[in-house]
């Protein structure tokens, strides 16, 4: 079994107004990798490239050790996917979908599918159009989970779902991941979902991967320094990954919190960064290096 369920190497894709160049990304097997980034950064583009919904201009993508173009069917047979706006013809219902899709997947179990529909509360006979957006998403999730996929590829799977369900879903996924052969790539805005659930965090910005780190690193080694503007003078420039100036002073994201603590002294507030902090400070924040 491969170390990495997904490897993206040197991938390139261009749209008017957007360019993705030389993207390298690795998703380790048996873990949850969270993909975060602002709107338009390329999260959905990456997912589409893996599923070959859009063609890459250069580079390689290997899933389960196989090239995703040369072995397209074999690769997709083991991927459970959820896209950010599930779309099916209006007059189709959950039962029809199950019957239509089941034969494509070896691991499909109609029992499991119906059980998931039941757990998620999706009515089997209701037309797709008549379902609320949350229900539509739950249906898409049930389909993705029903065939015992080895890789779950999810693009904003929790948008519009309430907290209760999101927690239940994450616990469900965590249970699935107890099998080390399963992996998850989860792209989302709702960073709080990833805080406790993701093992690795990848940040993408303007079509580039900014970093890909274990969540524990971010939590334990990084920090957010909050104080008056002069606090920046104490900090080591390369460590500062993003700065934001507000009416209450300055917020600086540092990659080495303990060093910053030694430099700044005990009165300065240094907190553990939330993923939200990381995302915001590294995207809208100004680069410290540039302004100094």
């Amino acid at each position: 079994m491969e170390d990495n369920v997904l490897e993206i190497r040197g991938v390139r894709k261009r749209y008017p107004g957007f360019a993705m160049r030389d993207v390298d990304l690795v998703v380790p097997t048996g873990h949850v990798t969270g993909l975060i980034g602002p709107n338009g950064a390329g999260k959905t583009t990456l997912v589409k490239l893996v599923m070959n919904l859009i063609t890459r201009e250069a580079g390689e993508i290997d899933v389960f050790g196989l090239d995703n173009l040369l072995h397209e069917a074999a690769v997709k047979a083991r991927i459970g996917f959820v896209y950010d706006e599930p779309s099916f013809p209006h007059d189709v219902n959950a039962r029809d979908l199950g019957r239509a899709i089941g034969p494509f997947y070896k691991g499909w179990s109609s029992e499991r599918y119906r059980r998931l529909l039941g757990e998620f509360g999706v009515p089997e006979r209701k037309r797709f159009k008549a379902l609320s957006k949350g229900m539509q998403m739950k249906l898409a999730l049930a389909i993705a989970l029903a065939h015992d996929a080895d890789l779950l590829l999810m693009d904003e799977p929790t948008a519009g779902l309430d907290l209760e369900f999101r927690r239940d879903l994450l616990e469900h996924l965590a249970a699935i991941l107890e099998d080390e052969r399963k992996s998850v790539l989860f792209s989302t805005h709702v960073t709080s979902d990833l805080e406790r659930f993701a093992d690795f965090i990848t940040l993408i910005r303007d079509g580039e991967i900014v970093f890909s780190l274990p969540t524990s690193d971010l939590r334990d080694a990084w920090g957010v320094v909050r104080g008056a503007a002069d606090v920046l003078d104490h900090l080591d420039a390369p460590d500062v990954r993003g700065v934001r100036t507000g009416p209450n002073g300055v917020e600086a994201l540092v990659a080495n919190a303990s060093l910053a603590r030694r430099r700044c002294g005990p009165e300065v507030v240094i907190d553990r960064p939330s993923l939200d902090d990381v995302l915001v400070l590294m995207t809208r924040g100004d680069s410290y290096v540039e302004s100094h």
């Binding site: 589409k48 599923m51 070959n52 919904l53 859009i54 063609t55 397209e72 069917a73 074999a74 690769v75 997709k76 047979a77 991927i79 996917f81 896209y83 706006e85 599930p86 779309s87 099916f88 013809p89 209006h90 007059d91 189709v92 029809d96 979908l97 019957r99 239509a100 899709i101 034969p103 494509f104 997947y105």
Partner: protein
């Protein structure tokens, strides 16, 4: 491959039933005037309506952005395109056979067939093959909207050309050209006999479909969803 066709049938069965019923009933309109139409016209009409059945399924999928879902299933794009052709022939051809057979239960229709049955059947095959070959690549590339635009566009083009011909006095030339073509076909028919003619036509339709399939493969392979 067959999984794909089956999927389309399951997910589109309601649309098929509605459109299929129309295909069943509509041809009877042709029997209303006092002078019944030649059987070829009847078959053409049925053929067109039946071809719209699989095309409608493709267009419906496009309309709801469900193509991305289909392309995410464990199939290659090539499989998907091929299933559209096979499915197209299967659904359109099958429904055509049903409609024509049911039509025979009505006396007025049986009378139509009494004159020129083999021509009618050949016409049916041709209309099926032609429509599929032309419409599928279009729909694959442009979706339902593209198809409608294309059809309307063609009509507009036809009108423009007609008006042009009228204005430039070229209508006679067009009439002569059409006559020459029809005569050529007629003499070929006499030359090779009905079986030879049918064989040529069938071969022509097959080649056209093959070319169309190739074109669709190319179009669909690189289409971004």
């Amino acid at each position: 491959m067959w999984n794909l066709i089956r999927k389309d049938l399951i997910l589109g069965h309601r649309t098929l039933i509605v459109n299929g019923s129309m295909a069943l009933v509509a041809p009877f309109i042709l029997l209303l005037p006092d002078e019944p139409p030649p059987v070829i016209l009847y078959v053409l009409y049925v053929g067109l309506m039946c071809t719209m059945l699989p095309v409608g399924l493709i267009a419906k999928e496009e309309k709801f952005s469900a193509t991305a879902f289909t392309c995410s299933l464990p199939m290659t794009r090539r499989d998907i395109v091929t299933s559209r052709y096979l499915g197209g022939w299967f659904i359109a051809g099958g429904s055509m056979a049903v409609v024509l057979a049911l039509g025979l239960t009505v006396g007025a229709v049986r009378d139509l067939w009494s004159d020129g049955a083999s021509g009618g059947l050949l016409a049916g095959f041709v209309i099926l093959g032609l429509t599929i070959a032309i419409v599928i690549p279009f729909t694959i590339r442009f979706g339902m909207n593209g198809l409608l635009f294309g059809l309307v566009g063609l009509q507009v083009l036809g009108m423009v050309m007609f008006l042009l011909a009228l204005a430039t006095g070229g209508l006679d030339a067009v009439e002569r050209a059409v006559k020459t073509a029809v005569d050529a076909v007629g003499s070929y028919h006499e030359g090779v006999g009905p079986i030879g003619f049918a064989a040529t036509v069938i071969l022509g339709v097959a080649v056209l479909n093959w070319l169309s399939w190739k074109a669709s493969l190319r179009i669909f392979r690189t289409r971004d969803l």
